[in-house]
Symmetry: C2
Subunit: 146 residues, 2 copies
């Protein structure tokens, strides 16, 4: 018998959205060429609620190659101090869409992409969530992404 | 052209081991029933260098079911402040081995397993690493686990 309790769905969704909106960093889960899950901390993310998340990445990166082979992915937001974790599960693509590159560009990005916003090694990862769950202390809930 | 540099292998291994040994929390990557990667923050881990990591978990947990279906997994250690991430890739099994249950038991575990060390809902996840990589600021390296 598990001691973990189900949270109210609406309250769970609101709490999850709050963590996603307030997190500067998160963790991206992808599948590698051998079928193993991989995790990487990602910074500089932008999000549209819990529906979509964008990351900047190197076109040449291992992550870009992985998502071209397998779109199945997840993004995890965690507050280690308060024992809150939000897992979003969905699909991710790598794109060179210029509007997205401009949207994500910030001062300091030239450290990673010396040629600027049109650097051929500058790509965007675009994640679309399908479902999610939240774990908060001894409470949990799962939800569909609307 | 990527601006990320390769680290010295030996230095990379030592730095990775230091982070693993000093982390109280880490992130477990598993594959769910639909083939998507999932991530969950895990606490109370014990480790044998970077070779093996053990977690306590509920026998009834989603994680336990996932690893029974697919042993392919990863464990990620991250220092968000100093931009260090260590990814260990390998296989994980769920076990009720009594010695392992006793090894992982600590004061406070009864909050999760009210019947104590023999609670049928108390299981151990045993991860064995096969290879790893470290990312530190703009430097990276990959290594086999000896």
């Amino acid at each position: 018998m598990s001691t973990i309790k189900e949270m109210n769905k609406e309250e769970a969704y609101d709490k999850a959205l709050e963590l996603v909106n307030n997190s500067e960093k998160c963790l991206l889960g992808t599948i590698d060429e051998n079928g193993y899950p991989n995790i990487k901390a990602m910074f500089n993310a932008k999000n549209n609620g819990m529906n979509e998340i964008w990351f900047s990445t190197n076109t040449s990166s291992i992550r870009t190659q992985q998502v071209k082979n397998n779109e199945q992915s997840c993004v995890y937001f965690v507050d280690m101090e308060n024992f809150i974790g939000v897992l979003l599960i969905g699909k991710i693509i790598a794109t060179r869409d210029k509007d997205l590159r401009e949207m994500l560009w910030e001062d300091g990005c030239e450290r990673f992409y010396p040629q600027g916003v049109d650097d051929p090694d500058y790509s965007v990862l675009h994640f679309k969530a399908e479902r999610g769950n939240i774990y908060h202390s001894m409470n949990k809930a799962s939800f569909e992404i609307k």
